[in-house]
């Protein structure tokens, strides 16, 4: 057995020590088959999110084609694990190691690359039925964010962003290059509060400086969730004549906005990239794997949920499928409230089983559309021996499908949680986690930097300094010479 201590929270050092000694004693007392023990790699991780898709002990196997490779990886989540139950959980997790499936789980799908996994349909469900979820939880979705509100709406941050934008417009005007219509785009509009604050501030600044730019602003608010767009429309009603509300797929904004090619002077996204589907790559002893997952609900939890909602356990999987197909309003005979409660219970219980699929080169992985494979080759070819990182597939696609909208002097700003150096993935497990009813992943900023360079943009990251303790930073682009 090889033990990997990937991250130890300073205030959990004693726990980590206890976990290590427990594992050593398990290894020594003969409860694990020698064949398994000699191929076992145990990773002690700190999972970023309190609610996530793991159990305290997760076992992962690796495959090459139809062959099951001998080495076994066990992930121990130092946040969830209890020293007193570790031993039983660890041994239990290894018992199913050779079985194709565990009888302790109700599987909701077969193995698939992570970005195609069922949890993204839950994510979609959340945004499409947001008011129902919020009504049941009794709080708006922004309350689930660290600090209880979005950093995007910080007045000082908005004021600085507006000032920078005004300066750009002035410079364009000085060079006789200011377009008649000044397009500004926000994708993923949240409550609409940032857009309203931005417009308020811009109007005030414009009046103060007498520049007459405000009436030329065409502020486009794009989101794929109609409930969200409707809410935003109400929030920015004071600027209604300048605003347009558009159904925009964050993965491909160009699809609906191609008429604005090279015309948009400012594009902003907050907390969007971290909510887009992603795949993951694992490097172990220099060999490459991509991660496949299948979602499941632990049998005990499924039984409990079934009993609570009066659904036969044999109908559990079918009922979940129906929830995703028709929505929470129609899933339970007692009505929408029960439907939403069922949804929330399943979401709370849902977990991901993982397996690592061996690949010869990175080109065999499910790469984000539009990403030049040679770029990723050089990205993972920099002496990486043991690493697990996100491809941030959705974020890469979104970036590549957004920048063609930018005016030659325009810029993209993305406020989110970024991993800006590949080696930082070693220090923490960066998702996926659950954020209320949605999914959150850290975003591979290091990869986005390279993607940007190939697309003609230098990508920079500035820490968000307006709120102490904020983990977000702002990606912004400048034209690459």
């Amino acid at each position: 057995m090889i033990l990997h201590l990937n991250h130890i929270q300073p205030d959990r050092a004693a726990l980590a020590s206890s976990v290590v000694s427990t594992l050593v004693s398990i290894a020594g007392d003969g409860q694990i088959q020698p064949r398994i023990l000699e191929n076992l790699n145990v990773h002690l991780d700190w999972v970023q999110y309190k609610t996530n898709f793991r159990e305290a002990v997760t076992v992962r196997r690796a495959t090459r084609g139809a062959e099951l490779l001998p080495w076994i990886e066990a992930g121990v989540d130092l946040r969830q694990v209890q020293p007193e139950t570790l031993k039983s959980e660890f041994i239990s997790a290894l018992q199913d190691v050779d079985a194709g499936a565990s009888r302790k789980r109700i599987y909701l799908e077969t193995f698939a690359p992570m970005r195609s996994c069922l949890i993204w349909r839950f994510n979609n469900l959340f945004w499409q039925h947001l008011p129902l979820w919020e009504s049941a939880s009794g709080k708006g979705f922004e309350r689930a964010l660290p600090g209880g509100k979005s950093d995007a709406n910080h007045p000082d941050a908005v004021a600085d962003a507006v000032a920078d934008f005004w300066t750009l417009l002035k410079d364009l005007e000085n060079h006789h290059q200011l377009p008649a219509e000044i397009f500004v785009l926000e994708i993923g509009v949240g409550t609409g509060k940032r857009a309203a604050m931005w417009l308020d501030r811009f109007r005030a600044l414009d009046r103060e400086r007498g520049t007459q730019y405000y009436p030329r602003i065409r502020f486009l608010l794009g989101d794929y969730s109609m409930p969200t767009l409707n809410r935003a429309m109400e929030t920015v009603r004071e600027h209604r004549e300048l605003g347009s509300f558009l159904a925009v797929d964050a993965l491909d904004p160009f699809k609906s906005l191609s008429f604005l090619r090279y015309k948009v002077l400012s594009i902003h996204l907050t907390n969007v990239y971290d909510n887009l589907p992603t795949d993951e790559i694992v490097v172990r002893d220099g060999k490459l794997y991509f991660v496949e997952v299948r979602s499941y609900v632990p049998a005990a939890a499924a039984t409990h949920i079934s009993e609570t909602f009066g659904i036969p356990i044999t109908d559990f999987e079918r009922t979940v499928t129906r929830l995703l197909e028709v929505g929470p309003q129609h899933v339970h005979p007692s009505g929408v409230e029960k439907g939403v409660a069922f949804w929330r219970a399943v979401w709370d219980a849902i977990r991901l089983e993982e397996r690592f699929v061996a690949i010869q080169t990175i080109l065999d992985a499910p790469l984000p559309t539009g990403l030049k494979p040679q770029l990723l080759e050089s990205f993972v070819g920099e002496g990486v021996m043991n690493q697990r990182f996100q491809l941030s597939s959705g974020a890469v696609e979104s970036f590549l499908n957004t920048v063609p909208l930018l005016h030659p002097r325009g810029y993209l700003q993305v406020q989110d949680i970024f991993v800006t150096k590949l080696e930082d993935y070693s220090r923490m497990f960066r998702g996926p986690g659950k954020m209320d009813g949605s999914i959150v992943n850290w975003v591979n900023g290091a990869l986005l930097s390279q993607v940007g360079a190939q697309a003609g943009y230098d990508v920079h990251f500035a820490p968000f300094l307006y709120r102490e303790g904020s983990r977000t930073s702002t990606l912004y682009t400048t034209q690459r010479e």
């Binding site: 006789h176 090619r261 040679q374 030659p408």
Partner: protein, 333 residues
């Protein structure tokens, strides 16, 4: 060499294959030799020539596939310009280049490229060079007192090279000056520099001015009004301008400012992979004919095809040729 009415050509570059990008970068990583890369370039250029011929172009270039980008190929060759060869990893990036003293007169050794091109095609050929104004914007100056002075001296050196190319048989030369559009305030002295550059050069000379094509996207926005009336003093035969992506509004300038120039009509948008139909190209030519007589129009893409996939570039050029043929037929050609 007799050309038909509405001659067709490219602006200069042809599609850069992905494999060639990788091999160029391998060269910078010292994993393949200069000799190997030269041989690879020869093969790629021959393929680019063949593609242009099969697409039906009347005037052929070497596709500029030997060049890393529009600056470094010249900066490396300019006598007196120092380039830091450790300053880039990816072939398309720019070197850090600097001039620290007056430029001496010496050859840029471009004639070999032209001779190679002429060897492998029987059609008319065009050779393209990056103009001094664009080079000045990317080469750090630690000697001259002004950009204009640096630019003028570059023109003096490059004038000799253009004459060398003519001696080697070049009949069509093109000067690329996209940076005009980024620095429209330079146009007055920019034209003087061009006139120094072409002084005594006995060839048909095109001045290509677009809005940039770095990474396959525009670097600047605006319109061509800034060129006029200063550009009327330029001692070139043809202005090659982009109209496909931007629309034909600026064609009005040819009416507003009567001139003697031929128009290199940008009729293919090189910043989208969507292939134009011949009818679209024909319509763009028809529109231009309202402002410029047919005998003074050449048909070409907006800019180089460098960033287009090969199959897209080839299809676009074919559509451009077919669209031009529609107009020739309409005109009884």
């Amino acid at each position: 060499m007799n050309l038909p009415i509405l001659p067709t050509t490219v602006v200069g570059s042809y599609s850069m294959p992905g494999w060639l990008e990788r091999l160029k970068t391998e060269f910078f990583a010292r994993r393949i030799s200069r000799q190997d890369l030269d041989e690879i370039h020869d093969v790629a250029v021959k393929a680019a020539i063949k593609d242009q011929e099969v697409a039906g172009l009347d005037i052929i270039t070497d596709g500029e596939l030997r060049r890393d980008n529009m600056i470094d190929y010249f900066a490396e060759r300019l006598p007196g310009v120092q380039t830091d060869h450790t300053s880039k990893k990816f072939y398309y990036d720019f070197y850090d280049s600097v001039v620290r003293g007056k430029l001496p007169m010496a050859s840029l050794r471009l004639t070999d490229d032209f001779k190679f091109l002429a060897t492998f095609t029987d059609r008319a050929t065009k050779f393209c060079v990056t103009g001094p104004h664009s080079l000045v914007k990317r080469i750090r100056d630690e000697h001259y007192k002004s950009e204009e002075a640096f630019d003028m001296d570059l023109a003096r050196v490059m004038n000799m090279e253009l004459k060398e190319l003519v001696r080697a048989g070049a009949r069509y030369l093109q000067i690329d000056e996209p940076y005009y559009s980024g620095f429209p305030e330079d146009i007055q002295w920019g034209v003087k520099v061009v006139n120094t550059l072409v002084d005594g050069v006995d060839a048909k000379i095109t001045l290509h001015i677009c809005y940039g094509n770095r990474y396959g996207k525009p670097s600047w926005a605006g319109n061509y009004r800034y060129l006029f009336p200063a550009i009327l003093e330029a001692k070139v035969h043809q202005l090659s301008l982009e109209f496909a992506r931007r629309g034909g509004e600026d064609l009005e300038l040819f009416k507003e400012f009567p001139n003697r120039f031929e128009l290199g009509l940008g009729s293919i948008d090189v910043k989208t992979h969507e292939v134009e139909t011949p009818e679209i190209v024909a319509e763009r030519v028809r529109k231009a004919l309202k402002f410029v007589p047919v005998e003074r129009i050449h048909v070409l893409p907006d800019c180089g095809c460098l960033h287009l996939p090969q199959e897209v570039a080839f299809a676009k050029l074919k559509a451009m040729v077919q669209g031009t043929k529609i107009i020739r037929k309409e005109l009884g050609g």
